[in-house]
């Protein structure tokens, strides 16, 4: 990859991690036979 001529060296320490983190997944409700669904 052509990136030209060097200019300077910098440091980047991002406040937020650039790597996305998985959101916690909510479990689906559990079906109870002949009854109301209840949360997992």
């Amino acid at each position: 990859m052509e990136i030209g001529e060097p200019k300077r060296i910098v440091e980047s320490d991002p406040l937020e991690d650039p790597v996305p983190r998985e959101e916690p997944v909510e479990s689906p409700p559990v079906e109870v036979p002949d009854g109301e669904p209840v949360p997992a």
């Binding site: 990859m1 052509e2 990136i3 320490d13 991002p14 790597v19 983190r21």
Partner: protein, 179 residues
């Protein structure tokens, strides 16, 4: 450990954004660097390592990127600088078919976040750490968009009908976003 030369460098609290191209591998579910064939794993930052040949068991000669070397994760300021990758595809008859064959290493373009130590160039960067920030996929390869969701970043399809035109559309979309 932070040394004096690091303290003298400008410090930024945001990652740098640049353009890159990758090959799609593993049935379209993974991005792989074109030159060094390193697979970018979802959820894991890529850390640069100097690839200068060395005897087996010997550690890299220096941390990457080093100002006197060519090591580091590369990114370009202008998506136009990736044109050679498109032209490379144009010369390859395997990718001129309307359905780009994943097995031949179809190209994906996108923005990459770069951080850590960064050597800044007039047209791009060499960086210590990297992770994709936004991926562009020709819509004729749309079935791979879901697979690329594993990276947790936006995947944008660009609607075109045929192989090379699709990639040109990706470049146009990339330029609009950069403007």
């Amino acid at each position: 450990m932070v040394n004096q030369s690091q303290l003298d460098r400008p410090l930024f609290a945001e990652p740098f954004l640049a353009w890159r191209a990758w090959n799609l591998v593993e049935a379209g579910s993974r991005l792989r660097s074109i030159v060094y064939e390193h697979v970018w794993e979802p959820g894991e930052r890529v850390e640069a390592e100097c690839a200068r040949p060395r005897p087996e068991g010997v550690a890299p000669y220096h941390p990457a990127p080093d100002e006197d070397c060519q090591c580091g994760v590369y990114g370009s300021l202008d998506p136009d600088h990736l044109r050679s990758y498109v032209q490379e595809m144009r010369r390859d008859p395997r990718v001129l078919v309307a359905k780009l064959p994943i097995a031949s290493g179809s190209r994906v373009f996108g923005l990459v976040s770069l951080w850590g130590t960064i050597v800044e160039y007039t047209k791009g960067y060499r960086a210590q750490f990297a992770y994709p920030a936004h991926l562009y996929l020709p819509c004729l390869m749309h079935e791979y968009a879901d697979k690329l969701d594993v990276y947790g970043v936006p995947v944008t399809c660009v609607d075109e009908q045929h192989g090379f035109e699709a990639l040109r559309a990706v470049m146009r979309a990339a330029r609009r976003e950069a403007a």
